[in-house]
Symmetry: C3
Subunit: 440 residues, 3 copies
Amino acid sequence: MGGEGFQMHRLAQRLFPICRSITGDGVRASLRILQEILQEDGIDLKMHEIPSGEKCFDWTIPEEWNINDAYILDQAGKKIVNFKNNNLHVVSYSEPVDKILTLQELDEHLYSRPDLPDAIPYVTSYYRRHWGFCLSHEQRCSLPDGQYRAVIDSTLAPGSLTYADLIIPGSTNREVMISTYVCHPSMANNELSGPVVATYLAKWLSSRSDRRYTYRFVFVPETIGSIAYVSRHLLQLKQHVIAGFNVTCVGDERTYSYLPSRLGRTLSDRVALHVLRHRAPGFKAYSFLDRGSDERQYCAPGVDLPIASVMRSKYAAYPEYHTSKDDLTFVTPAGLQGGYEMLKECLEVIEAEATYRSTVLCEPQLGKRGLYSSLGTRDIEKSVLMRTDVLCYCDGDHSLLDIADILGVPQKDLRSFATELLDHGLIEFCEERGGRGQGL
Amino acid sequence: MGGEGFQMHRLAQRLFPICRSITGDGVRASLRILQEILQEDGIDLKMHEIPSGEKCFDWTIPEEWNINDAYILDQAGKKIVNFKNNNLHVVSYSEPVDKILTLQELDEHLYSRPDLPDAIPYVTSYYRRHWGFCLSHEQRCSLPDGQYRAVIDSTLAPGSLTYADLIIPGSTNREVMISTYVCHPSMANNELSGPVVATYLAKWLSSRSDRRYTYRFVFVPETIGSIAYVSRHLLQLKQHVIAGFNVTCVGDERTYSYLPSRLGRTLSDRVALHVLRHRAPGFKAYSFLDRGSDERQYCAPGVDLPIASVMRSKYAAYPEYHTSKDDLTFVTPAGLQGGYEMLKECLEVIEAEATYRSTVLCEPQLGKRGLYSSLGTRDIEKSVLMRTDVLCYCDGDHSLLDIADILGVPQKDLRSFATELLDHGLIEFCEERGGRGQGL
Amino acid sequence: MGGEGFQMHRLAQRLFPICRSITGDGVRASLRILQEILQEDGIDLKMHEIPSGEKCFDWTIPEEWNINDAYILDQAGKKIVNFKNNNLHVVSYSEPVDKILTLQELDEHLYSRPDLPDAIPYVTSYYRRHWGFCLSHEQRCSLPDGQYRAVIDSTLAPGSLTYADLIIPGSTNREVMISTYVCHPSMANNELSGPVVATYLAKWLSSRSDRRYTYRFVFVPETIGSIAYVSRHLLQLKQHVIAGFNVTCVGDERTYSYLPSRLGRTLSDRVALHVLRHRAPGFKAYSFLDRGSDERQYCAPGVDLPIASVMRSKYAAYPEYHTSKDDLTFVTPAGLQGGYEMLKECLEVIEAEATYRSTVLCEPQLGKRGLYSSLGTRDIEKSVLMRTDVLCYCDGDHSLLDIADILGVPQKDLRSFATELLDHGLIEFCEERGGRGQGL
């Protein structure tokens, strides 16, 4: 396992206790930590604020929510539910409250999961004024009759929505976009795995000297954040983005998953499937009907950015999802490392993707260049055959990924052949083909 | 079961005894009964006559055939075969005859079915002068040697071929065409089920106030009638017909069947398969190579109208076919009701077929319109998800049927979502796409 | 079995002892024998010489190699390996040598096959100066220590490369190309089956009076010969060749095989698969990745001639390949006959391939032309149905091969229907469609 797994897990540990929501200081505090980590490599993560009330397509930036404390006191004055112990205890965007209630009255503001009796569920109420507490079903069932005091010390007021982005320039202005979200409180797979893996992908990319593409990383609150981001950058994104991934749920060890773009036919889809088939053949392929994250916005009709998802256990498809059990024991260094490497290879495939054309008619004489066995016997080495196979599909029509799929091998196994054939002048780059962004 | 089944069966009972052929008074009498039934709903079934000798493409309208009586007398003068008992006893288009013959001579004019020894077969000789009798194989085998008198009191003389059509106008001049045939004597599935179901479909359509398409119903003698009809209306049909069905064999209870258009790629094919897959998943799908009715003309090269067939037991695929056993015990009210409803749903799918385009970029905020749950919990209602699924494929490219197929549900389950989204201004109609005739 | 099998086997017997290589008098002697056989039918096989040193794309014609004798003498002066016994004993293109060596020194120039211990392997060293002997592994292991004398009486000197071609003209200048190779010494399936079957295909074609296509037969040394041929005729080939086959390995009795053109979508591919599916349903279908003969040149990017291979046991896929065991017991008259007939049928399918258009709208009245039963009973003859099926796909879009594939029958079963319908004026030829070269 590479060292990134441990580093990413440590970063997730720092971020874990912060109470994030779609707006507020929790988001800012989290992004500042990512800024610090990225600054180590000279990468400038820029934070942006959009004021409450601003229109973004069909939506309006909501009031900003912040919270100091929240608890339920029992008749004896004991804090039986305490936000300071676990920020999932409060329904996100709860309005301030300080009330004495009977158990029956209180119960209307309580949320638990009978099917997961020892877990605290995660509940939000962003767009309808409401307050509530989440607790384990076991605890809820054990509450005695009597009077309770419910206190939420929160503010809901005009402020702003915070997001961040960074650009790692390449030799062309065509872009690969990585989006992840920062709006969930203490949960690990469905939230923190995303920003930490994205952060380490940015660090790796900035260390590469030979980037062909420009990389755009976007850290936004889910849904409202990606809508706001698209509304502010639509033309730029439509013009330049040739591929991209929504990075979420990339930290557990159970499985790998793929969720396509809306029509499933983008370069990102092909690359994700290619990499997963070779590196994780048992991966689970979802339909776009199973979507649930920012691909809902990026792939909406008319937006239709080439964004697919390569995940480990997909949101809403593992029991711990949206509960206190989605924690940093479920997400592990090895799990994060796996998610990181799978996405890294996707980006490497995109960087290496190109279409070549043979420069000679008929087969070139490889032997005189030391690229073919001089003695004609029955057996030819496998690598020699693979070289001739690559060459014979360098026809200006098949990309390196197409050729890899014809040969049934990972694209990365063919890169050295392409380089070698280029070096010998036997193939040349072709102009772009089909908007896939090959060649230079 | 809807009441139409019984009404259709009663209508079939009225039509059953009439001796129809490809020309003659039997056709006229049958069409007049349909006229009467359609007139109840103010629908005007127009009858047309084409004189014998008129050229229709490669064919010529034959002489008109009429028959008063026909029988075989045995040596004792007893009517052992009697047209008045069953009009299948006479080979259709038999020329007049009155002859004394030996059994051996007579036998050359007898037709029976050894494989179905108690059934009277149905035989025709439209284009070669001939006469003959059909009888059960049992009876044929029991005929004693001796002299017989064969009498056919028929006329074959210049006259005309009769057909009928009706138009139910819609809000566009694009047409859906329903064709059925009226040329078989007393047989129920392969003949009467067609005109009676077509008649009740016309009655149902005329009762709808919101027809988008114009409906053309055609009642013709098979083959020569459809050829004549096409020859007189080719340009009109090619310009306007966007879908249609040949209605035949829709009255028994055994199964459902589908026979495609010649290339199998028309709207009618897609709709028929969609409806059958959801309503009758065990249906039998035939090839165009199994054709045998008027799709032979409507789908001929150069004609190529979008005509498919949705049937119950297909002609030539059930033992009773073309015999006296294809009667009104084989065809039942429930069987007719099933055929009627399957075709009705096909027409409803065509009426509802449209392509929409989302009016907002990214997802609209459904919550503020009461179309989404305000509380973010793990579970979202299925109907809410289906609404967002419809919305996300309203991209100006996928029709409602395409979306239904993506979602794996009947198109009818999506119509209320489309209406609701239209009402909220979240989607809009698109211009026609691919000649499918959507939008207005 | 047709008589050609025996004639082809006898011709192979004459050619077998000649020591062929990619240049030299062995090739010339072999081609002169083919010239003689073809002359019997008035076919003019033209021989051509390309001087050593001439450039052909990326290649240079090598020096010419000729050999008189070669042997290894043991210490007692006994010829233990003798070229005169089997010309496989010498590595092809061995430079002249006359040396005394120890067994250890000699061993570096010996080639044997441990996996096939009683076979003499076939080894070449065309483009690196080298000499060597091939012998059975059994013999090699039994060689005692001691001194040996290795003698190769060969010449490697400027000369020329020899190839031959012939043209059998048809009524159009569009061409079908048959290529085969003449550069292997005494081996039967992987060499002689090719030129002898090609020769007899030329004889058969020249006897046909009704050739639509012009046939180009090419006899070349493999690789360098086909490269040279393409370099001299590229424009002509690209303009005129509509289909073709590389004829190799068509003489044993084990199996049938197919190797596609590079993209697998040419007329040759369709025809080969069609014929093999009907005549040899258990045939083995290879991928272009399994290529190894002159399709490497003919199908190279930019050349992309429509050349596929229909073989019996494919080169490199049978144990005898490239050894002394690939002899005229492995290749038999029946094996050659099978290869010949399969290719003959491919050529017949290509000759008969055409696209027709119905001349009437709706179905024509076949009955009045005696092409349909006059009596309408339940059963229609199969051949009548097939006639109407052919007719209904004569739409100017489906070729006879397309129709055969729709009907699931060999194209040859439909030719008489097409002729008959043409004769009755019911269909007419269409202009070419999709470059397939139909019609006239």
